[in-house]
């Protein structure tokens, strides 16, 4: 249990809540913008602060400050629900505002964690968020008890009202006193779902009203007085060096202000690190973009100019024949396979994929002598403060990040966000005025930090009962991120920790260098190697004459949570293997972020090879669900996201550069390709709290690939599926 000592954290007047400049410089829609509904971040907060998360207003409004980002995953609502559950207030009175990242840093990580990644918000942060609500509730009770001359256990706190005998008062009446109360001991939180009155009931999200009328503000919508606009371009071959450019050639273009040169820092290639780039600054973004297109620029591409998807794929094949780093050694496995009469072996591969958040990469910064303000779609607004401070050599306490809604995250805006945040800070510093930097979609795709390409060679021997007795796998992973993206957690994640009880296992991996910027991406590792493991599982099962679903149930006999998920899938999916040719069902199950998700896909394939994914049934065990509405939304969303990559996606690299950089050539799923999704929970409860933002994605592509095999007899071992000839007779 996370005991939170909130006693040192009182602020008497809550209008201080807006301290740290959260209200600075926001553009308000003009009158003809018909809708001017309140926005979470600039609504003045009135009332009394009980603790950093909570402000109570005498009119009954409960304002909850949200330290995490809302990128579509429902995080804003999740935080509010966890706190409101413990506080015990009417849900209709709850209002959400974003918390101030500067305050968080100033007060020694006051909100504990602001980063929003890894499907962790509910899974890992629920203890301290619930504690914040419980703690406030007990302080309110204590304050009332003291005023009423009774002990705290005689005071009841329910739905915003404190009561004891004939006395009663709204929470807000004791808010100021509560803020000064010190408790001997923090109250316990309600970990047990049977005690919940709000969690688990299925709540409509708080951010929806702002997202149907155009008023939700994203970083890209930032408008500041005197702001100028920048369009940027890095080397088309990533990490190429900027040799020269001719600013004179565009100085007469309409609206032109300046060309700013940006430089990479040698050896720095992490998520928020900058490449060499040129930025053209103009009075509007459209003008900046046009002028940039006309700017003569010379690059030194270096050796990377010879790289291509084809070459990397050929190299992968070669490397899969070489010994790698050992992540689990068992020479016996190799001996058994060598001596076996029945061996299954196959090579698999997944290409690079891009995040393609619907909101293209952008950031706005205003660097002044006494303060710096920044608006960026970062999944960690406090890290954005630190990155900008580092870039400018400023004290973080003078840097203010203004949280906004994110037009998608998917891991691409992790840490402090992308290099664009540094670019914006740097350009504003040099021009001494506020600047919005926006990457074109083409730049966004070409220079994003991509999901690593992966490949594997899988070999197993099938024993007596048709079940595998030994397995030997060798996986590889192309990445440039040497910090977070190497080791067993990536290249053979999902292979090494496959749940199947195969007696002898030997796993190896290779980490291959690449110049393609690469980093975290929704479901890292689990997507690539989860696909590989689960298609191979199908191949092993069928080679042994097993029904693939029964095989998985048999192979996880000792694992109760897997049994729960797979047996629930069996019950819900009506999985069968006897459909007529051209129709098929496929199964896959992958664990990631503490959640097991299993999928059953139903497909049809016409004789001419046209694929239709009819339906996907997904069953997940994330232990607990605090908002079934949002959790199911994430299951649908993750399934769609992953199916898009597997069916129609895949980045194409030629001459060192990504060539499919816009939505005419890099495809995502369209509405007419979206299958029906049926989402179910099979909750094991207890101490298990798994994530929900990512886990439903990984099992979907292998389930569909396995269904395609069932329908056509064609085995899919790489993606996108659309490159396969699926015709049959």
């Amino acid at each position: 249990m996370n005991a939170v000592n909130l006693s040192r954290r009182f602020f008497v007047q809550a209008s201080l809540a807006a301290s740290g400049g959260l209200m600075l410089g926001f553009h308000m829609p003009t009158a003809e913008a018909a809708v001017t509904e309140a926005k979470p971040w600039n609504t003045p907060v009135t009332g009394i602060e009980v603790n950093a998360w909570l402000v109570l207003d005498p009119d009954g409004t409960v304002t909850i400050r949200i330290p995490h980002t809302e990128m579509g995953q429902g995080g804003m609502t999740s935080v509010a629900l966890l706190i409101a559950e413990e506080l015990d207030v009417e849900w209709s009175k709850v209002k959400a505002v974003f918390a101030d990242p500067n305050r968080h840093l100033r007060n020694n990580k006051e909100y504990k964690v602001m980063s929003t990644h890894g499907s962790q918000l509910v899974a890992l942060q629920h203890p301290h968020l619930m504690q914040a609500g419980a703690s406030a509730r007990e302080r309110l009770k204590e304050a009332a008890a003291q005023a009423w001359g009774v002990t705290r256990d005689k005071v009841e706190a329910k739905q915003g009202v404190l009561k004891s005998g004939s006395k009663s008062a709204p929470y807000a009446e004791f808010a100021a006193a509560a803020a000064k109360v010190t408790l001997d001991k923090e109250p316990a939180i309600k970990e047990d779902a049977s005690q919940w009155w709000l969690l688990g009931t299925g709540t409509q999200r708080l951010d929806i009203p702002n997202k149907v009328n155009g008023s939700a503000q994203y970083a890209i919508d930032t408008r500041l007085p005197g702001m100028v606009y920048a369009a940027v371009k890095a080397s088309p071959v990533p990490w190429g060096k900027l040799k020269s450019f001719n600013a004179d050639a565009i100085k007469d273009q309409p609206g032109f202000i300046a060309v700013v040169e940006l430089r990479a820092v040698e050896g720095k290639r992490g998520q928020p690190d900058m490449q060499d780039a040129v930025a053209v600054v103009a009075t509007s973004w459209y003008k900046a973009k046009n002028a940039l297109n006309m700017l003569p620029v010379e690059w030194d591409f270096g050796d990377s100019v010879t790289a291509s998807s084809k070459g990397m794929s050929e190299n992968a094949k070669k490397v899969l024949g070489e010994k790698g780093l050992i992540s689990k050694e068992d020479p016996k496995a190799l001996e058994v396979i060598a001596a076996s009469k029945k061996v299954v072996t196959a090579d698999y591969e997944r290409p690079f994929e891009t995040h393609l958040r619907m909101e293209p990469i952008n950031a706005t910064a205003h660097v002044q002598d006494d303060r710096v303000d920044v608006w960026s779609p970062s999944q960690d607004q406090s890290a954005a403060v630190l990155i900008v401070a580092e870039q400018l050599g400023r004290d973080p306490k003078d840097v203010y990040a203004h949280p906004v809604f994110l037009g998608g995250g998917f891991g691409g805006n992790g840490g402090g966000g992308t290099a664009v945040t540094r670019q914006a800070a740097e350009i504003s510093k040099r021009l001494k005025r506020p600047v919005k930097v926006l990457w074109t979609r083409e730049e966004d795709v070409a220079q994003d930090k991509q999901r690593p390409m992966a490949a594997a060679r899988m070999t197993a021997s099938i024993g007596e009962k048709g079940l595998p007795e030994a397995i030997f796998t060798r996986a590889l992973w192309y990445t440039q991120d040497k910090q977070n993206q190497i080791g067993p957690a990536t290249a053979d994640y999902g292979i090494r920790n496959m749940p199947y009880n195969i007696p002898l296992r030997h796993h190896e991996r290779h980490n291959l260098d690449t110049h393609i910027p690469s980093s975290t991406h929704r479901g890292p590792g689990a997507n690539q190697t989860g696909f590989i493991t689960e298609v191979f599982a199908d191949e092993m099962a069928l080679a042994g004459g097993w029904n693939p679903l029964d095989w998985r149930i048999e192979m996880t006999k000792e694992l109760p949570d897997w049994q729960l998920v797979l047996k629930t899938l069996k019950e819900k999916s009506n999985y069968r293997t006897d459909l007529p040719k051209g129709e098929g069902m496929g199964i896959a199950a992958v664990e990631c972020h503490g959640t097991i998700a299993a999928a059953c896909a139903t497909v049809s394939v016409t004789r001419r090879g046209q694929l239709r994914v009819e339906k996907i049934v997904i069953v997940a065990d994330c232990g607990h669900v605090i908002n079934p509405h949002a959790a199911k939304e994430q299951m649908e969303g993750a399934a769609c996201y992953e199916l898009g990559h597997a069916w129609v996606g895949g980045l194409d690299i030629r001459e060192g550069r990504i060539v499919n950089t816009n939505m005419d050539t890099y495809n995502i799923l369209r509405m007419d390709q979206m299958p029906d999704i049926e989402a179910h929970f099979a909750l094991s409860g207890g101490k298990k709290w798994g994530g929900m933002g990512e886990p439903a994605g990984p099992p979907v592509p292998p389930a569909v690939a396995n269904a395609i095999f069932a329908a056509t007899g064609k085995r899919i071992r790489t993606t996108p599926f659309r490159q396969y000839d699926l015709t049959w007779v």
Partner: protein, 152 residues
Amino acid sequence: MAINLTINGAAHNVDIDPDTPLLWVLRDEIGLTGTKYGCGIARCGSCTVHVDGQPAKACQLKAASLVGKQVTTIEGLSKDGNHPVQQAWKEVGVPQCGYCQSGQIMSAAALLARTRNPSDGEIEQAMSENLCRCGTYLRIKAGIRRAAQLGV
């Protein structure tokens, strides 16, 4: 060059290059940021607005071509955010990140204005150029069916 545009019923005089796409006039000149940039090449639908009631992609419309026409953006779709499509979107809980949703809502509203009770096929056809990276398609469909019940 000064151009007169009618947006959400109000007259705007903007001084711009007549070739500037409406998308950037709305967002950067006038400050109506509900209409979103996603691709700039007519492939994502995030920038969908209505021109004389018909859905159109603002990234492809030159400002000069809109003189004398009625442009409606998400901010002007209804006075109080309660157009039946918006109501249905709230009831069903369609948006995730929300970034594509202005475009989705404008396309859906135009569809329902043409076809009161669209079939699934008609919905798919009318909406297939509006992409959603968050994968809200099933809820968009449900939202359109609900809006049809509410009556546009």
